[in-house]
Symmetry: D2
Subunit: 178 residues, 4 copies
């Protein structure tokens, strides 16, 4: 018996009706907040990507993206971190699957602090210490390391991609330094 088949009242969900899934299903993703830590594990700085949005606007972003079919969450975190920070970033993926928060991105504004006009997405958010050398990859223009104070200012600015500022603030709070 399938753990997600408990709700047999939802038998309307036939194979055919799963077409156009993105308009019908929440999409699962991950977000990572890259940090540099000192020898006691305390976060010294936070890494933010600089990226051009579709309309040419330049924005600061956290690392993140979709979880693929048959991919573990920790493998998705590693893949997105390597994709954005390069193969020498040496991220320390957390030992526990418990995220520090879960962000619910709705196509309708105002339901949660997170709005995504294209889809209903749910991302599990983790803080990830980075120990190696980062080289922004692909369409990322730059990676900047901000002190915790600078990160807090940035989290409240309009330079952050929508929703990413709120998620960054929640990460800083979880670090105990807000």
């Amino acid at each position: 018996m399938s753990p997600l088949d408990l709700d047999r009242s939802e038998s309307w969900l036939t194979r055919e009706e799963l077409d156009n899934a993105r308009e019908r299903l929440p999409i699962l993703g991950v977000h990572a907040v890259p940090v540099r830590v000192d020898s006691t594990g305390a976060a010294e700085s936070v890494g933010l990507l600089l990226r051009a949005s579709d309309d040419g606007h330049i924005q600061r972003e956290l690392v993140g993206g979709r979880v693929l079919y048959h991919e573990r969450i920790r493998d998705a975190l590693l893949r997105h971190l390597e994709k954005d920070l390069g193969p020498m970033a040496l991220p320390r993926i957390p030992v526990s699957p418990q995220p520090f928060t879960v962000a619910e991105w709705f196509p309708t504004p105002g339901v949660t602090p997170f709005h995504d006009p294209r889809q209903h997405a749910v991302t599990l958010a983790f803080i990830v210490p980075i120990t190696g050398d980062c080289q922004p990859q692909q369409d990322a223009l730059d990676l900047a390391w901000l002190s915790r104070d600078e990160a807090l200012v940035m989290a409240c600015s309009t330079d952050m991609a929508p929703g990413h500022g709120a998620l960054l603030q929640q990460a800083l709070a979880h670090l105990g330094t807000l």
Copy 2:
């Protein structure tokens, strides 16, 4: 810009290719561990559903199911609890979106402790105090309240639906009473 569109390298994901989503996407769900608490918030007993599986086997199960499109996680929890425990169960949905764990159900056995032959599902798990009267609904044959000691024995038995025993043990650990 969409938070889950960071990975543009995944542009293979066209609308057409989303057909047959269940074979291509991880499905998002929730699990709830119903508990009765005393006036200090300490868990006194754990609620388990008795249900007939597809092959006629009788099994103990936690409450759970899918998160629907445009449904908040807390609304999905409430819906599944009311569906399984009835409209008078009066569950206390947690204030924070942080789950105590995340269970990754893979169609391939052995990747994680959770196996679901039908799909790749990811469920966010929460402990939910129940304050009202429970009436098992629909296809649930019974709801049993077990003491924490009884629940621990049950968690290790083959009477639990596959994976549900492991999740129950993790819940008991999170309660600090394992």
Copy 3:
């Protein structure tokens, strides 16, 4: 064998040297962030105490205080909530001992965001839904329920007792609404 006696190198800690403990030991405490929740468990408002400080200044504060010898953390939470909010507040103490954060109050400013000139204190912080009627007790002048937006503004204001604003912000972040 005692779990905290592992460090036998600290054998300097004789009975006599435990005199004047407050100058020699970290003091354990709890903090509670009272919230009103809707039927889905979402926090609608946050409760703050209005109190006169020792120098006659009026300040907003969270609920909290010391854990006594041979007192469970959940009993300490309940005692402090009833002491400050009255016997009819009906708080829902969390089921799990995992706090959303741990605040370290140092007599030296700048070690952490939390400063307490009188002692080294460590407080475990929990968000606690309140379901009954609150009557501020003893030296509390008033209890105010603030919306989450109002609470966020208050958290950054100088009307909060030192450190309580930072703790309130961390609580709002944990609620997912920052």
Copy 4:
């Protein structure tokens, strides 16, 4: 105003009465569960100390001990890990102050799963990846790395120091592998 002085009704706590603090105050400590992780952050093995108890019994133990006056929790974790595992262990102290659980050790048996005949102690528990070489120090006879399955068996055996088996089980649950 002191954050732990909210309870002025406890004015019985004069300086003199703090004498013999250990019989009057809960003692704050930390516990660390050492793990070896693979490149995806998944725990592969758990480290347990072998130590002779006061009565000559040989027992398996987690790392841990007291938090000193004016010591940060992360510094206490580092100190106890270096004390027990040696200076080359290179532990990765967690970035967040949120422990995976809080263990309450009572001098009276049965209040919680944790019993300490000498004192009332409260320990914050963290899982700590170890990346260097371990050399058991001082009175530790050996350090053994157990697979997760072996660790689960050990957690239920009487070879563990009292309470340490329960804490180890809770750690394995938090790792998602129980």
